[in-house]
């Protein structure tokens, strides 16, 4: 069974291009710390083209969180900007990259969006 985080990165890699990141270029490394163990994911963005590697390495931005929180971020249960302000997620390097990649994360699973009432009434 593949966990949420792996699925998220595999999906990005498969997608190959993300229009929301078309103006973004740079390399992010996600360090998921659990006790002495750290899992690394590297995301390379080149004007929206994406490449994912599960490896350590140089990056413009290094994001650090616990694996559980990260799974909740990429699952939409938690919000990355709030996590950053709380100190539950740390960022070293170019913060802008994180704020752009964060927009690719889904919204909360229980969010329904606008309450459309196509009643045909109204004006």
């Amino acid at each position: 069974m593949v966990d949420t985080t792996t699925r998220f990165f595999e999906d990005l890699d498969r997608r190959g291009f993300e229009p929301l990141l078309a103006k973004t270029s740079g390399t992010l490394r996600f360090d998921l710390h659990e006790g002495p163990h750290t899992t690394h994911w590297v995301l390379e963005i080149d004007h929206g083209s994406l490449r994912v590697r599960q490896a350590d390495g140089e990056a413009d931005t290094v994001v650090g969180t616990e694996p559980r929180l990260f799974a909740e971020l990429v699952g939409g249960e938690e919000n990355a900007i709030a996590a950053l302000l709380r100190g539950d997620m740390t960022v070293m390097g170019d913060l802008r990259l994180v704020l752009q990649v964060e927009r690719v994360f889904p919204g909360p699973p229980d969010s329904r969006g606008p309450h459309h009432t196509f009643s045909g009434r109204g004006a």
Binding site: N79, L85, R86, G87, T90, G107, G113, H115, S119, A123
Partner: protein, 686 residues
């Protein structure tokens, strides 16, 4: 709110609000303090000499980032015979720095105990007006040999204040002190440094390497001088116009704000001190106001708002794909999601206004590259208007918050709870649709059509947008027109019932161009008629409406920003005299506030009060009040970009005398505009 004798200095979103002695003793009624990142880092900062509080002789706020206080020992008496002078000089620029100077005027030597009590409650900006009782984290204070460390910790959320001084002091958990001896005519100085930290688990500050400009005093001064020298010069026969312009320009500099994510670029924050943050609506409207004078602000504002445009449904944040943000905050309540500002998206006008600003900016600057760069975001914004904002599927922008705990009920600029009502004063149910937002949507479509044709190479999309705009205009003029009273309804309820009240919003409709030509004269008449026009400005709500109150926040007060868009709208439809009337009234009012227009003032008749009665408000200067005189100048001078040149068609009132605006930047390079007052407003009033 702080009383009138508080002193405020700032740099970006670091600011100090203190008493006129320089002391800080925060209470819910006097929310003074040192603030940064929407957090209070000092709530106590009290200087004593030999155990005595100090009395203010005078203070100077030298620049927006520095102030100086002249003090003597003892509380105020009618006769001060001081043998000591104490000068506190302070500046913010990243950190907060205070220089203490003590002078002994006595013929004898004196021994002095100098003490600063220091403490912090680390209140979130949203909490400063409340009694702060139940902070969920823990406070700590650590006295070290060379510094005092004040801190607050809640999980990984940590904020710290570190106080140190260049003169060795004795630090304890409640402050620090010096014992000194001063010979006759001797002087003693100490420099105190207060640094604010937002620390992550790695011990690294959230804001590292993210400053707007140099944080040193000299760098700030240089930055301000450069800002002023880059802007056009305004000369006027009567000094008031030029003086108001200069005041606005300096305040605009103070209101520049560099969000964490922008890497040092700045956009206008909403207001000082409580709204030193990004607001979609306020930042966009301010950019529109100041385009002829400070066009670069528009570029950075558009870029940052585009970079943070909504991408998903998030009901807590009222976020939708394509929606432009309302407000961003950095404090504890945002971090722990007790408030939704990370960021919050609950406004319905920022999104169409984003498109409007991009087009207007290009018409002035010729920066087609930015129009191309932001094509995707513009299309997403237009899709939001048609798909997500049209809650009833009838072609209008509606709002109904999904965050029912902490979201905003009214998501238009008049966002207080009672601002939208029926003629009988009762409040309509949700969703609601306000008129001016439909105007913005119309304007956004018309302007986007131009951009699609000229820059995006998509004439089919342009045609579609134009058809949509024309259809919207036709239906709007049918559904919102209150035939027997001759104006547009303020809002519609979900059953299509009109809120038949006369409001300033109809002026925004002129600005957007959605008003049918044959109805425009009636609208112009209302705007300068006795029910809306007070003599100083156009009231938010007309006299005679049930909820009218001359000091009702959105129900009768006069907002300078609102009036500046009304004047622009009047001018757009050819009502130059009426536009000049509005401009003249507001600029007259500005002289009563030393050129710094408040957020709002009372809707009382001018002949009744003789001077504009300020609405007791939290923020001054406020960005869109600061921008108002600039847009009024534009409207009076009839500045309008046409292809590669700037058209000037001045219509000034007689009393305004001669005005010249030199070096107006744009696609034409730099040009000058000259005008002389010729309109007799007295005649118009008859």
């Amino acid at each position: 709110m702080p009383g009138n004798n508080t002193v405020r200095i700032l740099d970006g979103n670091t600011f100090v609000v203190s008493e006129d002695t320089g002391d800080i003793e925060a209470t819910p009624n006097e929310p003074t303090g040192l603030f940064s990142l929407d957090t209070r880092y000092l709530s106590k900062w009290v200087l004593t000499v030999n155990g005595e509080r100090l009395n203010a002789l005078s203070y100077d706020d030298l620049q927006y980032y520095e102030a100086r206080f002249f003090l003597v020992p003892g509380m105020a008496t009618h006769y001060v015979d001081a043998k000591l002078s104490i000068i506190r000089e302070r500046a913010v620029g990243g950190s907060f720095r205070e220089t203490l100077t003590i002078l002994n005027h006595d013929e004898k030597a004196v021994d002095l105990q100098i003490r600063m009590d220091a403490g912090s409650d680390f209140a979130d900006l949203f909490q400063v007006k409340d009694e702060i009782l139940n902070k969920k984290g823990e406070h700590y204070a650590e006295a070290e040999s060379d510094r005092l460390r004040l801190g607050y910790r809640r999980g990984n959320f940590r904020r710290e204040t570190i106080v140190s001084a260049d003169q060795p002091a004795r630090y304890d958990q409640r402050g620090f002190a010096w014992s000194i001896r001063l010979e006759p005519n001797e002087q003693w100085d100490a420099v105190i440094d207060v640094q604010t930290f937002a620390i992550g688990p790695g011990g690294r500050d959230l804001r590292m390497g993210l400053r707007a400009h140099g944080t040193e005093r000299l760098a700030l001064q240089h930055d301000l001088e450069e800002w002023i020298s880059r802007a056009p010069k305004v000369n006027s026969e009567h000094d008031r116009v030029a003086a108001t312009y200069r005041r606005s320009l300096v305040d605009l500099a103070a209101l520049r704000f560099s969000p964490l994510s922008l890497g040092g670029q700045t956009l206008p924050a909403a207001g000082l001190p409580w709204f030193m943050t990004m607001f979609g609506r306020d930042s966009i409207l301010t950019c529109l106001q100041v385009l002829p004078f400070a066009p670069e602000m528009s570029k950075t504002t558009l870029r940052i708002l585009a970079a943070l445009q909504g991408t998903r449904f998030d009901d807590f944040r009222d976020e939708d794909p394509g929606r432009i943000l309302h407000e961003m905050r950095y404090g504890e309540t945002a971090a722990f999601e007790e408030q939704p500002h990370s960021p919050y998206y609950g406004s319905v006008d920022a999104t169409p206004l984003f498109v409007v600003l991009l087009d207007e900016y290009e018409r002035w600057s010729g920066d087609g590259a930015l129009v191309k760069e932001l094509e995707r975001e513009c299309r997403a914004a237009l899709k939001w208007i048609d798909d997500y904002a049209d809650l009833l599927g009838n072609g209008y922008i509606w709002y109904e918050r999904r965050n029912t705990d902490t979201g905003l009920e009214n998501q238009c600029w008049k966002d207080s709870w009672d601002s939208i009502s029926y003629a009988d004063g009762t409040l309509p149910p949700f969703p609601r649709a306000t008129c001016e937002v439909q105007g913005y949507a119309y304007d956004a479509k018309v302007r986007a059509a131009r951009m699609a044709r000229e820059f995006w190479g998509d004439p089919a999309y342009a045609d579609q947008l134009e058809r949509g705009a024309a259809e919207l205009k036709r239906r709007f003029n049918n559904d919102w027109w209150v035939a027997d009273r001759g104006f547009y309804a303020l809002a519609l309820d979900p059953d299509g019932r009109q809120c038949e009240v006369l409001s300033s919003n109809i002026g925004h409709l002129l600005w957007s161009g959605i008003v049918d030509d044959e109805r425009a004269p009636t609208i112009a008449e209302h705007l300068v008629g006795s029910r809306l026009w007070s003599g100083w400005g156009v009231r938010t709500l007309a006299e005679g409406e049930v909820r009218y109150n001359p000091i009702g926040y959105h129900n009768g007060t006069i907002w300078p920003f609102d009036n500046s868009f009304v004047a622009w709208g009047l001018r757009r439809y050819g009502f130059a005299e009426e536009a000049a009337t509005v401009a003249n009234g507001i600029l007259d009012a500005a002289t009563y506030f030393d050129g710094r227009l408040p957020e709002a003032f009372g809707g009382y008749r001018r002949e009744l009060t003789k001077f504009p009665v300020e609405y007791p408000t939290a923020c001054s200067p406020q960005a869109w009040s600061t921008g108002a005189p600039l847009l009024l100048l534009r409207s009076m001078l009839g500045l309008e970009p046409h292809e590669q040149h700037l058209a000037v068609d001045p219509r000034l009132p007689v009393g305004m005398g001669r005005i010249e605006v030199l070096d107006i930047p744009g696609r034409w390079g730099r040009v000058d505009a000259f005008a002389r007052g010729r309109i007799d407003l007295e005649e118009l009033a008859d």
